[in-house]
């Protein structure tokens, strides 16, 4: 029987509004494949030191989904965002130097284009970098296939079925938000996970 660790998937990606369709795609794929999403945004404990919280969650996850596509300069300060490469480094460090369990970690790394990373983080050459082209369907297919090949639970749904479910959710999402008197900016990570979980439960 699979352990909690085997079924936890660490999400390392942007959390801004523009990225929401891709974050929803990641969450949909994880849930549909029978895994549990974990990320630094899941707890709002101000007493937690952020890096320790991230390390703790990484240590509890066999899988990591890392999207390093948003490395562009911040409009406000002209500096790049380094949090996602940092968290990828922590994950790979745990895999390299951790216990036997930690060495079994699987990193699923995404960028917008397959070889773009060579221009800004070339040291991760040798890892399998997937290109999602900012397309939710491609992201879902790659995540599903990676989780399927390592699944302790046997057969999981096909990519097309998960993408169909995601497309239906996305088409109804604006109306769902309206029914709940919510705007995009109101949604926390907890809200996003709750909406998708309940949608999947309702339509199961």
């Amino acid at each position: 029987m699979a352990s909690e660790y085997d079924l936890n998937v660490f999400i390392n990606c942007p959390f801004d509004e523009d990225y929401t369709p891709l974050l929803d795609a990641i969450l949909f794929a994880i849930y549909a494949c029978g895994y549990r999403p974990r990320c630094a945004m899941e707890a709002d404990n101000a007493g937690d030191i952020r890096i320790e919280k991230i390390n703790r969650i990484i240590s509890q996850c066999r899988f990591g989904i890392h999207d390093i596509s948003r490395t562009e300069l911040d409009i406000a300060n002209g500096l790049p965002r380094f949090n996602m490469p940092l968290e990828l480094g922590l994950f790979l460090g745990a895999k390299k130097f951790g216990s036997q369990t930690q060495r079994g970690k699987i990193a699923i790394i995404f960028d917008t284009e397959q070889y773009r990373y060579q221009k800004f983080i070339s040291d991760i050459a040798g890892q399998d970098i997937h290109a999602h082209d900012n397309h939710p369907g491609k992201l879902i297919r790659s995540i599903r296939n990676a989780l399927n090949s390592a699944s302790p639970n046997g057969r999981i749904p096909g990519a097309a079925a998960i993408i169909d479910g995601y497309d239906q959710y996305q088409s109804k999402r604006p109306e769902l938000m309206q029914q709940l008197s919510l705007e995009e900016g109101d949604l926390t990570y907890a809200d996003k996970t709750q909406l998708i979980e309940q949608w999947l439960q309702f339509t199961a």
């Binding site: 895994y35 899941e42 709750q194 979980e197 439960q201």
Partner: protein, 97 residues
């Protein structure tokens, strides 16, 4: 049973349970209380029932699978939204088609 049903008030004043996929009325009842007894039985046997008010508004949903039944491993987050409100919102959106 894995279908969706509704409880609604019909034009003739009776309350009915209806299979939402086929649109077929499964049974008519003299009042809503009787229809609700039937709705709870449907939910108990695995069906999902969308409960409507006199004006046709969605008031509740019963029989939605819990996370483990649906194969969902819930994220460890503090939920802020009412589960009931979310289910009602989903029902309204899906009923509109």
């Amino acid at each position: 049973m894995n279908s969706t049903f509704s409880v609604t008030k019909d034009g003739d004043g009776t309350w009915v349970t209806r299979d939402t996929d086929s649109g077929r009325t499964t049974k008519a009842y003299l009042n809503k209380s009787e229809a609700m007894v039937a709705a709870r039985a449907i939910a108990k046997s695995g069906g999902k029932v969308i409960i409507h008010g006199v004006q046709g508004d969605v008031q509740d949903v019963i029989g939605v699978k819990d996370a483990s039944q649906a194969g969902i491993r819930k994220a460890p987050v503090r939920r802020r939204l009412s589960s009931r409100d979310v289910n009602i919102a989903i029902a309204k959106v899906l009923e509109k088609g």
